[in-house]
């Protein structure tokens, strides 16, 4: 009887298996397939073993150097973005009202940037930051600062970072706000009776209670910023030079610009593994402290 039940169980998970196979496993296998072959077009493929991987991971090769550069660039970008968005998001959440009609208003305003398609965000900023006709770009130039993101790599970086902060700080703020709202009132009352300062309340109550949502926020923002493609592609196209060519932009250049499918496939796999590994590290480090997870 038990045996029978188990067999039917397999049948029930079959749809999921099929969906996952088509959406994840098969495409991934295609990439794996490409990564071990070379092609000169015409659908002719030649076995290349781990050739692409060893070239990619060797910083002395042209491909390796290029990959490493894009990797560092991307890590720096993620670090800057996290360092700004997490504290800023928490600050915004702390400043948001707890009750009244302003709550709904704030939530709607905060959610707006999250609802805009990524390439639209890119287009908005591409125009907004232009030094000739863009409101921001022209204003900054009018103040006497030389700002042109198509010429100057610092300006390009600043534009991309500010754009990401504008786009995604809301997400962190909303998550942090949800965490704050979940703190029962007596915690604040007890803190008042204990004579706690604003800072002590933040340190001993709010931050620990927000810890779990902040872990989620850090993970989401890290993964997203590490995979960023659309917005910088629309605004700077990876330039000037290669200065804002992040990993995914580089990957697309390699795969679709140069049609180096093998190299690009190898790069995708390594890229993917790096994200997985970094997320695992983040998760382990950040949850190490909470020995009794799930217990309030």
């Amino acid at each position: 009887m038990d045996k029978q039940t188990n067999q039917r169980g397999w049948l029930l998970v079959l749809p999921v298996v099929v969906i996952v196979a088509f959406s994840a496993i098969l495409p991934l296998m295609t990439v794996v397939n490409y990564s071990v072959q070379d092609t000169f077009g015409n659908n002719q493929f030649f076995w290349n073993g781990v050739g692409w991987f060893s070239e990619l991971l060797d910083p002395r090769s042209e491909l390796g150097a290029r990959f490493l550069e894009a990797l560092w660039r991307n890590l720096l970008f993620s670090a800057i973005v996290l360092a700004i968005e997490i504290p800023l998001g928490v600050l915004v959440a702390l400043a948001m009202p707890r009750q009244g009609w302003t709550v709904a208003f704030c939530l709607v305003v905060m959610a707006l940037p999250l609802l805009i398609p990524w390439n639209v965000v890119g287009t908005i900023w591409q125009i907004f930051a232009r030094s000739d006709i863009g409101l921001l770009g022209a204003a900054v130039n009018a103040l006497g600062l030389d700002y042109n993101y198509t010429r100057d790599s610092f300006a390009a970086w600043a534009t991309v970072v500010v754009m990401d902060v504008w786009h995604w700080t809301s997400l962190v703020a909303l998550l942090a706000y949800a965490g704050l709202k979940a703190i029962p009132e007596p915690f604040y009352q007890a803190a008042r009776i204990d004579g706690a300062s604003r800072w002590a309340v933040f340190r001993t109550i709010q931050l620990p209670k927000m810890q779990r949502v902040l872990i989620i926020a850090v993970l989401l923002r890290f993964m997203d910023s590490f995979m960023i493609y659309t917005e910088p592609f629309v605004v700077t196209g990876g330039g000037p030079g290669n200065s804002t060519t992040f990993l995914s932009i580089d990957l697309v250049k390699l795969a679709l610009g140069q049609f180096d499918l093998g190299k690009a496939a190898a790069m995708s796999i390594v890229y993917n593994l790096i994200i997985l590994a970094l997320c695992w590290v983040f998760w382990t480090v950040m949850t190490k402290d909470s020995d009794a997870r799930g217990v309030r």
Binding site: Q189, A190, D194, S197, D291, A292
Partner: protein, 361 residues
Amino acid sequence: MARIDLVDLAHTYLARATSAADFAVKPMTRAWRHGGAYALLGPSGCGKTTLLNIISGLIAPSRGRVQFDGRDVTALPTERRNIAQVFQFPVIYDTLTVYENLAFPLRNRGTDRGTIDARVREIAQLLDLSGALDHRARGLTADVKQKVSLGRGLVRSDVAAILFDEPLTVIDPHLKLQLRAMLKQLHRQLDLTMIYVTHDQTEALTFADEVVVMYEGEVVQAGTPEELFERPAHTFVGWFIGSPGMNLLPCRIDGTAAVVGGHRIGLGRRYAALPADRRVELGVRPEYTILAGLNGGLPVRVRRVDDLGRVRIAKVELAGHPVAAIVPDGLAIDGEEAAIALDSNRLHVYADGHLVAPAEA
């Protein structure tokens, strides 16, 4: 020292209160003497937590004054009142150790290290927490957490009153008893005023010297457990305290007797005539309502008999009104017909819920 006076105090959560029903706490003047153990008893939503929060300063009253030893503290923020509060759900600072939790109120007030250390160890000793001082507070059980939050109140040497807001709600039954005993002991040991909010009459009656019963924002009676039992000032007290609650029979007063559905019940005292538009009830505790054989008193119809182990309670009907009565040992109940005898010294007359004093003895 802390004698707490509430002077003409009232509170409403509404911006503009129009009727008495809008008040969570209706106007009251009340004194809590220094060193007393009080229980604030009442059903959910009767305003007891609001009253507590007003005393501790978490809520500013809409009206009236709060005085500590004659000093007006109404405008004083909670951290500057010498009061501590323990909440329904244990409030602890998760990321701190038990030691740091206990030291927290002192550190916030800038007490020096040596004093803090001595004081924390002393209180830990008192609460039997010495062994747990280095533990992270997060992993503790609910009862230990509650002790820690009590400890945070006791650790301040200036604290003269501790307010408890249903502190044992989330504690296991067998630990409740222990903690309650500990609270009583602490009250004797330390010279503190304690106000204990609860909706559990057992908790209130065992903890307090004086029980203050609240109902719909009003204090309906304050007294010793015995007074509440023997002479409820309000039908709510009669019903809320005691298990089962007091029997209440709609009646008409006729001189020295109450008339319930055609039966005259002697009151032993003369009452003045009451206006016809008032709801008049005769109250008597089940403990003083004894079931008897057929001709033993007022004829009743037996509906059910509950054996509570220690005592048997009969649910009967007197002229259509439900009454609970004690079944004496050895009395066999045969059929539905029986009678009840009421102790005439324990009868109370209520008009619109409030106890009516007899006109003469």
